[in-house]
Amino acid sequence: MKIEHFRTPLMLLGLAALGFAAAWPPTTAWAAEQTQTLIRDFMFAPLTVKAGTTVTWVNADDEPHTVVSDTGLFRSSGLDTNEKFSFTFDKPGTYHIHCSIHPRMIATVVVE
């Protein structure tokens, strides 16, 4: 499954203004990192991210999914096609997630 790393447009603008545009594609050395990941074919992608990363899940299926932490740390609403849910992982650790509509869908987010 494809995992896309991206910067917000605002950050891109900042980069350009500072004349760092030539540095694209950027390295992963940003503190406030964002990661977007697709939920596709009834699967979450396993993720490894740095502490402080905001992970955004995007549902790419025709069927709704939810992103629910096994420990109850977070719980999305039902995400229709192309709808998103974000959570910022501040603390290092291993986080287990599942979809409450399809509980066979499980994955792990490792925060370093």
């Binding site: 074919d41 009834f42 699967m43 299926d61 025709d62 069927e63 709704p64 939810t66 096994d70 719980r75 609403s77 039902g78 229709d80 096609t81 287990h96 997630i97 599942h98 409450s100 509509i101 399809h102 509980p103 066979r104 499980i106």
Partner: protein, 313 residues
């Protein structure tokens, strides 16, 4: 039951599987289905018995709010379904909705579903939620509308025409990687509820997710259903009705008949076909043949329940 008879009843049950399409009437007598073609169903009863009185109609998986390619008009499909029920010569005493009333548990979806369902001539509606009805963060949208019958627990029972109905909820307490769950509280409540019933009382149990394991990799089953079945086994006639899988699957085990209804919204793939149980896209002319309802009639002398599946086209 002798081995020969057992084999015969298994054969009959398997034959039923092949009869899954529209227009087949399933006569349930002594826990064994006998398929009767609807075209000749009028002749049923030459031995002095009469076809049963319509007891209830099961509507399932209306998924109001769904708008994808598999069926861009789920409102229209439900409206057609309601018209089909309203056209029945004799109206059923009650309607059972086995969940996934809405697609995304949104207030507007629930409101719209209720508005559409109010078009039914039969006004007595009993519901259980599906997992699509409980995805709102606080899990309150379903219960604020349909929670009264169960005091917001999701499970309740009632009696009609000598039949005891038990409504169960198996879409909460989902554990990661698991099947549906009834939970110890609900199982204890069922035990208490059944204690007072004689074994000759026909029992109808309904819940959203199948109460037997149809396909574990897709979560099509209920993990602790065995504890429910052991309580039901002493009864002479048990009918277990579910939705969730948007297609007809049935099995007969002793006096217990298990049946899942079609959806009124969109079909789903056969177990294991594809990456998961998502909406199945089919040709437009095929769609109404894959949507529909289950109707159940009761015949009291001799006591028997009859199941019939009817497609929209």
């Amino acid at each position: 039951m002798s081995d020969d008879k057992l084999l015969q009843s298994r054969r009959d049950a398997l034959k039923c599987m092949a009869y899954g399409g529209a227009g087949t009437l399933f006569v349930l007598a002594g826990g064994v289905f006998t398929p009767v073609n609807l075209a000749t169903a009028g002749e049923y009863g030459k031995d002095g018995t009469k076809p049963g009185k319509p007891l209830f109609v099961q509507i399932s998986d209306t998924h109001i709010g769904f708008n994808k390619e598999a069926n861009p008009d789920v409102d229209g499909s439900l409206t057609q379904t309601i018209a089909l029920v309203n056209r029945m010569a004799e109206q059923p005493a009650l309607i059972i909705h086995t969940g996934d009333i809405t697609h995304l548990s949104k207030p507007a979806e629930f409101d719209h579903a209720q508005q559409l369902l109010s078009g039914l001539r039969t006004t007595e509606l009993h519901t259980v939620p599906g997992e699509h009805d409980t995805t709102d963060p606080t899990v309150t949208e379903y219960f604020s509308r349909f929670g009264k019958a169960s005091n917001n627990k999701g499970y309740y029972s009632f009696d009609h025409a000598g039949v005891h109905f038990i409504a169960l909820i198996n879409v909460l307490e989902f554990k990661a990687g698991g099947l549906g769950t009834l939970g110890p509280d609900q199982l204890a409540w069922v035990a208490d509820d059944l204690k007072r019933r004689s074994s000759s009382t026909p029992i109808v149990v309904f819940a959203h997710m199948p109460l037997w394991t149809i396909y574990e990799p897709w979560g099509w089953g209920t993990g602790d259903a065995d504890q429910l079945m052991s309580q039901l086994r002493r009864f002479g006639s048990v009918t277990v009705l579910n939705g969730h899988i948007h297609q007809i699957v049935q099995k007969v085990e002793g006096n217990m008949t298990f049946h899942t209804a079609r959806s009124t919204s969109y079909p789903q793939p056969a177990p294991g076909d594809g990456s998961g149980p998502g909406p199945l896209k089919v040709a437009a002319d095929l769609l109404p043949k894959m949507l529909g309802i289950t109707s159940v009639s009761v015949q009291l002398h001799p006591r028997a329940l009859t199941l019939a599946d009817t497609a929209l086209a």
